[in-house]
C-alpha cells in the first residue's frame, strides 16, 4: 500500500514526498485499508464531531452528575468563571479546559461520547479542537481534518506503545489524547507535519510518568481534571511547536520511552485503584462509601 506508515518518521516522509498534510496521508491510508470512499470516511468522522460537540454543550450548560455522585458540574463552574471574570490563563484556554471537563463529566454521567482514544481521555480532543475551531472560525469540514490528523498520532501510539491506562498509566492514556490534540491543533493552524509531531512529542514528554490512580477505580477522579491539564498541555505544546521550537528527542523515541516507563510502573499505579490518589485515606473512604466494605 502506498500510504502505509508505522511510525512518525514514516508518516512525515510520506507527507513530504507527496506534498500532503498528515490528515491527507491518514485519509489515503484509511481508504486503502477499508476500501471505503474518502467522502464516506469524512462523513462518518463528521458524525463523531457532532457527538463531541453535543457532549461539550451538555457538560457546559446542563447539570450533570456521575452515577457515584463523585463528579459533575465543575465544567459549568469554570464556564461561569471565564464568562464573567478575568482569568489567569485567558478565555480560550479556560474554555478549552472547561469543554474537556464537560465531556468527561458527561461520560461519567452515562452520556454519549466518542472514545478518543479511550473513554477516560475522551475530553481532550473535543476540548482543544472545538475551542480552536470556534476561536478561529474554522468550518466543520476543517475541524474534521483535525480529528483525522489526531487519529494518525493515536494510531502510531497504539501501534508502537499503548493508549490504555491499565497498561501504560495515565501518561499513555491522557498523554496520547493530548499528543493527538496538539498535533491536530498545529496542523489546523497551518503548521508543518514536522511541527505537528514536535508538538505531540513535547506533549508526551511533559507528562511522562503520570500514573493512573482513579479513586474507587471509576473513570471520574482525578480523570476529569487530568483531561483538563491534558488540554492545557496540548495547547501550550502546540504553541511551542508553532514558534519553531523542536522536541530534542524525536516523537518515535518519546513514544518508545513512554511505553517503557509504563511497563516499569507497578500494577498498583495502572488503573487498579490500589495506589496513588486511590490509596489515600480520602480516596479509600470514598471507595468505601460507593462500594461498601467488600472491596
Amino acid at each position: 500500500m502506498d500510504f502505509e506508515f508505522n511510525n512518525g518518521r514514516e508518516c512525515i516522509d510520506l507527507c513530504n514526498q507527496n506534498n500532503k498534510k498528515i490528515w491527507e496521508v491518514m485519509l489515503e491510508r484509511e481508504a486503502a485499508i477499508t476500501g471505503k470512499e474518502k467522502n464516506e470516511i469524512i462523513h462518518y468522522m463528521m458524525d463523531n464531531l457532532q457527538i463531541m460537540k453535543n457532549a461539550v454543550r451538555k457538560g457546559l450548560y446542563e447539570d450533570v452528575k456521575s452515577v457515584s455522585g463523585l463528579v459533575g458540574g465543575d465544567a459549568k463552574k469554570l464556564r461561569e468563571r471565564y464568562e464573567n471574570h478575568k482569568t489567569l490563563s485567558g478565555y480560550r484556554m479556560n474554555k478549552a479546559v472547561a469543554s474537556a471537563m464537560a465531556v468527561l463529566e458527561v461520560n461519567a454521567a452515562m452520556g454519549q461520547i466518542v472514545a478518543a482514544p479511550t473513554a477516560g481521555s475522551s475530553g481532550i480532543l473535543p476540548g482543544v479542537l472545538i475551542t480552536v475551531a470556534e476561536s478561529f472560525e474554522l468550518s466543520d469540514e476543517e475541524t474534521v481534518r483535525g480529528l483525522i490528523t489526531a487519529s494518525a498520532i493515536g494510531y502510531i501510539i497504539t501501534r508502537n506503545a499503548t493508549v490504555a491506562g491499565a497498561e501504560g498509566g495515565c501518561q499513555a492514556e491522557t498523554g496520547a489524547a493530548a499528543a493527538m490534540a496538539a498535533a491536530a491543533a498545529v496542523e489546523l493552524m497551518g503548521g508543518s507535519p514536522e511541527q505537528a509531531f514536535h508538538a505531540a512529542a513535547i506533549t508526551i514528554k511533559n507528562i511522562m510518568g503520570l500514573v493512573c490512580d482513579p479513586i474507587a477505580g471509576l473513570v471520574e477522579a482525578p480523570c476529569v481534571k487530568r483531561n483538563a491539564i491534558g488540554t492545557a498541555n496540548a495547547l501550550i505544546s502546540a504553541d511551542i511547536a508553532l514558534a519553531g521550537i523542536e522536541s530534542i528527542i524525536p516523537f518515535d523515541e518519546v513514544v518508545e520511552a513512554m511505553y517503557r516507563v509504563g511497563r516499569m510502573m507497578p500494577c498498583e499505579l495502572r488503573e487498579t485503584a490500589l495506589g496513588g490518589l486511590a490509596a489515600t485515606p480520602t480516596g479509600l473512604e470514598i471507595q468505601k462509601r460507593i462500594f461498601g466494605e467488600q472491596k
Binding site: M45, V67, S68, M110, G111, A119, A152, V163, V219, E220
Partner: protein, 223 residues
Amino acid sequence: MKNYSMFDVIGPRMIGPSSSHTAGAARLSKVARKIGGEEITEVTFYLHGSFAKTYKGHGTDRALVAGIQGMEPNDENLRNAMEIALEKGIKFEFVEADLGEVHPNTVKIIMKGISGKTTEVIGSSVGGGNIKVFRINGLDVEFTGEYPTLLIRHIDKPGAIAKVSLILSEYDINIAFMRVFRQSKGKDAFMIIETDNSINEEVIGKTKALGEDFISVYLIDAL
C-alpha cells in the same frame, strides 16, 4: 498485527463511563440476547471479578440490562435501561460470583425467554469495548464479535460443515475463521464462522432450511 482504522482510535461512540465496564458489558448481553433468540422475560447476571466489585459505579448493571433488551452500547436510553426493563415487566437480578480462572470482567448470563426456554452464556469484556464469548449452554465456544459471526447450533454429523460452507461460497462470503465445538460425538455442537463480508437474511434463511440437524442459526453483527 491488526490493521488499525482511524475509527479504532477515534471511536467507538458509546455511553460512558468505561469502554470495558459499560460498552463491553452492553455488547456482551446484546450478543447473549441474540443467542437466546427471543424476547427475554427473566435474567440473572452472575458478575465476576472487577465486574462484581465495581458494577454499580460503572453502570455495568444498567449496560447489561440495556443489552439484554437489544440496545446498542451508544443508546442514550442505556442509563434508564433498568427502569425501562421494569416497565416491560422484565425481571433481572445481579449476583456476585466466582466464575473461576477467567478474565476479571466476566459475566455469566442465565436468561429465560418468552417461550420459557432457558439459555446460559458466559463471556468477558476484554477492553476497549471488545468482548469474548466462551461458553453457551455449557458448551465451550470462542468468538469475539470483531467480525460478522454466524453461530449455528447443530447436531454433530458428517457433512454439516460442508453444507454450510457451500451456502457461504454461493454468496461469495469469505470465511476468516471457523471453529466447531461439540459436547460429544453425534450430540449437540456449535459451528462458529467469522467472515470478512457481511451476511444477509437470505444466507440465514438458507442455513436454517438445511434440515432438522440445524437447530438454530444466529448472526452477530461486527462491532
